[in-house]
């Protein structure tokens, strides 16, 4: 049932969004590789992971918005922003580029989709700097602009990790970027798995980054299901008293009386039987003695 409603919901969303997209054909053409992507709700969590091994790429130092299409009615636009890093307390320098598509919604909201990341390889100096960090168990820090449309926005969003957490075979890193519209709230940065403590000094086997990125937006709070009239009445009954105790069995109710009663009865029975047995037994014994005496 739940699946069915979900499907229905997605379907209606799809119809809905496509009717919007009707204004611009190109948008649909561009969306082909991801199918239902456009049908996602603006405020539900959007998880999108892209994994890219680093490859030296021509850099764009200052993040800018590049409109891919000259069509002014186009609602989507490409956006790029740089990742910057710092070794210990050094200054920040560019370390990679995020590129994503900025989707504008009819109600004015904006969301990022299709995030891609290209990481620069460490230069020789950076390698040395990183080695020093590893030796001293120091912090490797990264930062992102807090607004992707007009970077750096209010301020840079900084995250850091102990350098010794990153090296495995290569350098494994994991980004979770928390978005609010076109703003970056925070970025969680670290190794994709556990980081052993105490941290051991270990140089990476190969100096290449293995990056994972996740884009997260806020989640709607679950709501108590709306109660129908009857259920509210039923609920109020429960409210007043915590719960009426279930009807207990006869034995559960009166065991404390029944056990002594049983004892009394048992006692009485044994006494009565004793009393009855004693004289008859005596007589029987006596008669046997008499009988045997007679036989003698």
């Amino acid at each position: 049932m739940a699946k069915l409603t979900l499907l229905l919901f997605l379907f209606t969303c799809f119809i809905f969004s496509s009717s919007f997209a009707f204004q611009s054909d190109e948008l649909l053409v561009d969306d082909d590789e991801f199918g239902l992507e456009g049908g996602a709700k603006p405020h539900s969590t959007e998880l999108y992971t892209s994994s890219s091994s680093s490859s030296p790429q021509q850099q764009q130092q200052t993040p800018t918005i590049r409109k891919r299409y000259s069509d002014p009615t186009d609602l989507d636009s490409k956006v790029q922003f740089t990742l910057q890093h710092a070794f210990g307390d050094s200054d920040f320098s560019p370390a990679g580029t995020f590129s994503a598509r900025l989707k504008s919604w009819s109600h004015g909201g904006k969301t990022l989709t299709k995030l891609r990341f290209s990481r620069n390889d460490f230069s020789a100096e950076e390698k040395d700097a990183f080695k020093n960090l590893l030796k001293g168990d120091e912090f490797y820090r990264i930062r992102l602009p807090s607004n992707v449309i007009s970077p750096p926005g209010k301020e840079f969003v900084i995250a850091s990790v102990r350098a010794r957490c990153l090296p495995r075979d290569g350098l494994d890193e994991h980004f979770i970027i928390h978005m609010e519209g076109a703003n970056i709230l925070a970025v969680s940065y670290g190794s994709p798995g556990a980081c052993q403590y105490p941290r051991q000094f270990k140089l990476p086997a190969k100096w290449a980054f293995n990056s994972h990125t996740i884009l997260k937006s806020s989640e709607q709070a679950p709501r108590t299901p709306i109660f129908t009239e009857e259920k509210i009445i039923g609920g109020e009954n429960v409210e007043g008293e915590v719960e009426p105790p279930p009807e207990r069995s006869f034995w559960a109710k009166y065991w404390m009386y029944l056990i002594p009663l049983g004892l009394v009865v048992m006692n009485a029975v044994t006494q009565v039987s004793n009393m009855a047995e004693e004289p008859t037994g005596g007589q029987a014994g006596g008669s046997q003695v008499q009988q045997s005496a007679r036989r003698r």
């Binding site: 609010e180 709230l185 798995g193 980081c195 052993q196 403590y197 709607q220 709501r223 609920g235």
Partner: protein, 984 residues
């Protein structure tokens, strides 16, 4: 044997009739709870002593309380706590039977019945702008003629009938730049004089007919220098004003509507001139001016001529003048000398005539006298007597009469800012404590009485005796530790900077101490107390070492003001040491390390981003250096919407720095976009909270591990539009987002948004759950949401074999740098009440189930089981779930009237609730503070580990004795029977 059974049965029936109950009955009130009523620091006082009946004084306070106090005993006849935004501007008595209060910047006028405090009428006055407010109640005692009450506030002058509160007329004074200074109503005249300044340079006098509100005449006159705004009215047709340079006193006379100025240079009448200040007391034909710390009395002559009559160098407090016999006026002045205060009542016309001179020994810890109010009475020998009501620096209120303190009220306790609990000293041999134990006979007598009571055999007198016995029972007021930890000291820091130690047994003040500034400099005469921390809690040296607390204070209200540390011995209340620390205090962080004398290490962050380590000892430094790499801290910038995480970097550089100062580096930031989110609430777990079990067993025999990190921060943000009052925005405009943030790495572990919801958010954070309360604009209801967070990284450790063979990661150190795998569960419920504060019970080991303590809008405390806000509640719980105690899901939380822990009492102006564990696992101390104080002990899962106080030991004894006797009797009987049978 049959006999024995019969006796046994009888006893059984007998025992089962003794009802055991766990809820609070009427006669249990006051057994372990106490309630103290306060009013706060007094602002105005009006005596009412004319009639022969009860003598009383009407006061209004800074806690927005209007109260009527018994002048003989200082008890409260009645009081009303107005809302927090309803500050009282003036109080007076009208018609001899109504108390008139003006509040909310002169927009609300209320009349209260003098004897019982019932509200007679209330009038909302029209207000157009913010302005100072004035209340003028005619002193005319002729009741037959209704002179109106004249009120100025919000730019309008109103005349209000004292009888029914009807607005008779109103006059618009909202003219640009016009500020009303005085409203004078000469007795017996129907003309009201209204004096105001236009742009602080032109004096305007209106004459208004008090019947119709029509302006009869208007005069204005320009004063070239401009006025400073300080004013003192000396008579019915004269006021004295300071000019804007504060060096000229201007007498403004407006007799019959003609304005006249008379300027007097202060340097002409006093030798040492300087910036002058007019003191507030109203003296007839005289005013008090403060120049260069000297108080100068200046008499105003008939022609507006000023002459100095007296000059005092001491710091004194003065009262307004009041008429005594023969057209004379008298006023009181109080000054300090050593540990004594001197009260003098002098005639205004002749300062050499001292009507009364009294010296009173005063507790050092009350500080200086802030305010004096006097009242006169006729002594038995027909001379004038005076009583003075004085307000001290620690906000306490005292009545002085005949050279003695008649009564005193510790009103500082109405403004508690921080609370902590400490243990009492261990009982030692030879230490005499109040002897409370009775002899055995008395003990038995008491228990026989109780037994009678529980068997409903007691006569009414005996019931009273039982109740009395219970109330003063069993040494609950001793000053030593007890087995159950029921006796403790509650330390309360007040806004006035006074520290009180209250006993949990009966709420009495064990000791009190006013904070002192160590330097005694002028800038910091008395530091404001900010927070209270446990400094030293000796466990190893509990017998010979006293615990101490750290009081962090600040010189001035600005956050960059230099801080003051004060260390106070908890048992004696003596200040061990205090120091000016020379840097500001933004945040105080107790560290989880103690040195060899069990002093806790504290870090104090200043405004420059440096942190300072305390205590400043080399041992503390070496302990700190060891953990240097693992110390992190964070700051919440509520103004700019940025949360920053920091780590230690190195020692401070700079010439003023010492080796205990450290610089920090920024590790992470969470930046909330200013156009969509604004931080309204942040919260962390209590650092000393104990979690008993880290795992939670589900109904399907599944195991969930609680995420019990101490480094979690709960943050609630709302859209900036929705930061105002509830209902000021539409649901579409407002949303509420809550976050759980790891404060080491800045990771957002959980984020949830509530569309169409609005603050204020009240939250409580304990173990692995947060419960928060907010307003849902769509449903027009308050809502409570619970979030529980579970650790998935340890979820694999379910296999018993793994546990036995040690192949689990439960003992591995947990580091925040591992990627957290968490699972959150959340559920929302409607809650019918608006909430002031939420707390949670806490017990020693954390085994006992928890209750939420909700401070409701009605100033009561509701104890709600945590089970009700379980996110796993479902509509139709299965049998297994029911067995586990899961309640069927309802859309709102129940409010069960019996679960109010304050029963019938109200903790007026409730601001905070503090829960502290006792030694007994089942029980917890609960202390609530506001204008009132309330304390009780709670047992969230009933007292399963001890017998109740009501337990009748006598009944147990009698039962045992009866059983032994029955055994003996039946034994004898059976012996006899056997014997007789053998003889048969």
């Amino acid at each position: 044997m049959a006999m024995a059974i019969r006796v046994f049965l009888l006893l059984l029936i007998f025992l089962s009739s003794a009802i055991v109950s766990f809820s609070l009955y009427e006669d249990q009130v006051g057994l372990m709870d106490w309630h103290q009523r306060y009013i706060g620091k007094v602002k105005h006082a009006v005596f009412h002593t004319q009639k022969t009946g009860r003598k009383r004084v009407i006061v209004s306070t800074e806690e927005n309380v209007v109260a009527s106090l018994d002048l003989r005993l200082g008890e409260i006849f009645w009081r009303h706590v107005l809302g927090t935004k309803d500050a009282i501007d003036g109080v007076d008595i009208a018609l001899g039977k109504y108390v008139i209060t003006l509040s909310s910047e002169g927009t609300t006028l209320r009349a209260w019945n003098l004897p019982d405090g019932q509200m007679v009428w209330e009038t909302s006055l029209h207000s157009a702008q913010h302005s100072k407010s004035l209340l003028s109640v005619p002193t005319n005692l002729k009741v037959d003629k209704d002179y109106p009450i004249i009120v100025f506030g919000g730019g309008y002058l109103h005349a209000v009938s004292a009888i029914d509160g009807e607005v008779l007329w109103k006059k618009d004074f909202t003219e640009e730049g016009f500020e009303i200074q005085r409203v004078l109503q000469p007795p017996g005249s129907s003309i009201i004089y209204v004096l105001g300044f236009l742009n602080s340079s032109e004096a305007v006098v209106y004459q208004i007919d008090s019947k119709s509100g029509e302006v009869v005449a208007q005069k204005s006159m320009v004063f070239p220098g401009g006025f400073s705004g300080e004013i003192s009215s000396v008579s019915n047709d004269k006021v004295v004003v300071l000019d804007s340079t504060r060096s000229i006193l201007v007498t403004i006379g407006f007799l019959d509507g003609d304005i006249s100025f008379q300027k007097t240079q202060i340097s002409d009448i006093v030798e040492d001139s300087g910036k002058a200040e007019i003191l507030s007391p109203l003296l007839s034909n005289m005013l008090a001016v403060k120049v260069n710390k000297r108080t100068i009395f200046v008499r105003v002559g008939g022609e507006g001529k000023l002459e100095v009559v007296d000059s005092l160098s001491d710091e004194i407090a003065m009262s307004d003048s009041l008429p005594v016999a023969d057209d004379q006026e008298a006023f009181a002045s109080v000054h300090h000398e050593g540990s004594k205060i001197h009260l003098m009542v002098k005639l205004v016309n002749d300062l050499d005539t001292v009507l009364l001179r009294e010296s009173i020994q005063m507790d050092q810890h009350r500080g200086r006298v802030h305010k004096v109010f006097i009242n006169n009475y006729i002594r038995t020998d027909r001379t004038n007597g005076f009583r003075a009501l004085i307000v001290m620096e620690d906000h306490s209120l005292l009545l002085l009469q005949q050279g003695a303190i008649v009564w005193s009220r510790e009103e500082g306790l109405a403004s508690v800012t921080d609370v902590t609990t400490v243990e009492l000293p261990v009982a030692k041999d030879g230490v005499s404590v109040a002897k409370v134990e009775h002899t055995l006979l008395e003990w038995l007598k008491g228990h026989m009485l109780k037994l009678k009571g529980s068997l409903l055999l007691a006569s009414p007198e005996e019931v009273v005796a039982i109740q009395e016995l219970r109330l003063k029972s069993s040494g609950k007021n001793k000053l030593t530790r007890d087995h159950n930890g029921f006796r403790k000291l509650i330390l309360a820091l007040t806004r006035a900077g006074k520290l009180f130690a209250l006993h949990t047994g009966d709420g009495r003040i064990v000791w009190s101490m006013l904070l002192n500034s160590p330097s005694k400099s002028e800038a910091c005469e008395r530091p404001n107390g900010i927070n209270l921390y446990q400094w030293q809690v000796p466990h190893h040296h509990a017998m010979d070492k006293n615990p101490s607390v750290l009081v962090v204070g600040r010189c001035g209200s600005d956050s960059s003001a230099p801080g003051v540390l004060s260390f106070v011995d908890v048992y004696t209340g003596k200040e061990l040491s205090s120091s000016d620390i020379g840097h500001s205090v933004v945040q105080v962080m107790p560290l989880p390390f103690t040195d060899s004398t069990e002093q806790r290490l504290h870090l104090i962050a200043d405004t420059d981003g440096h942190v300072h380590l305390y205590p400043k000892t080399s041992e503390a430094l070496s302990i700190f250096q060891r953990e240097f790499q693992n110390v992190y801290w964070y700051t919440v910038g509520a103004d700019d919407g940025i949360i920053r995480g920091h780590a230690m970097k190195s020692s401070c550089s700079g010439e003023t720095a010492d080796e205990y100062c450290f610089s920090t580096r920024e590790l992470w930031t969470v930046v909330f976009p200013s156009e969509s989110e604004k931080i309204i609430s942040t919260l962390t777990r209590k650092p000393n909270e104990v979690v008993h079990t880290q795992a939670k067993v589900n109904t399907d025999q599944d195991l969930l591990y609680k995420y019990v990190s101490k480094n979690l921060l709960f943050v609630a943000t709302v859209s900036p539009k929705g930061a105002g009052e509830i209902g000021s925005v539409t649901p579409e405009e407002s949303s509420l987002v809550v976050y759980l943030i790891d404060t080491i790495t800045g990771r957002i572990l959980h984020r949830l948004s509530h569309q169409g919801c609005q603050g204020p958010v009240h939250a409580v954070f304990s173990e692995n759950w947060v419960v928060y309360h907010y307003f849902n604009l769509r449903a027009h209801k308050y809502e409570v949401t619970v979030v529980e967070i579970y650790d998935q990284s340890r979820a694999e450790n379910k296999n018993v074999w793994k546990l036995i063979l040690g192949k689990h990661n439960l003992t591995a150190p947990i580091t925040s740098y591992s990627r957290p795998e968490v699972l959150t569960k959340s559920q929302s419920y409607f809650f019918a009440q608006s909430v002031k504060t939420i707390a949670v019970t806490s017990t020693t080991k954390g085994i006992t189930s928890k209750q939420l303590l909700i401070g409701t809008i009605g100033d009561q405390i509701l104890a709600l089981d945590k089970r009700f806000v379980d996110p796993r509640r479902t509509l139709n719980p299965s049998q297994a779930e029911k067995e586990e105690g899961i309640i069927p899901l309802t859309d709102s939380l129940p409010i069960i009237p019996q679960s109010y822990v304050t029963h019938s009492l109200k903790v007026e102006g409730l601001r905070g609730i503090v829960a502290a564990p006792t030694k007994l696992e089942s029980t917890t101390h609960v202390f609530a503070y506001g204008v009132d104080l309330f304390y009780t002990r709670l047992a969230p899962s009933k007292t399963y580990d001890s017998l109740t106080d009501d337990f009748s030991y006598a009944l147990l004894l009698i039962t045992i004795v009866a059983l032994v006797a029955a055994i003996y009797i039946t034994w004898v009987l059976s012996e006899k029977k056997e014997l007789s049978e053998k003889w048969r």
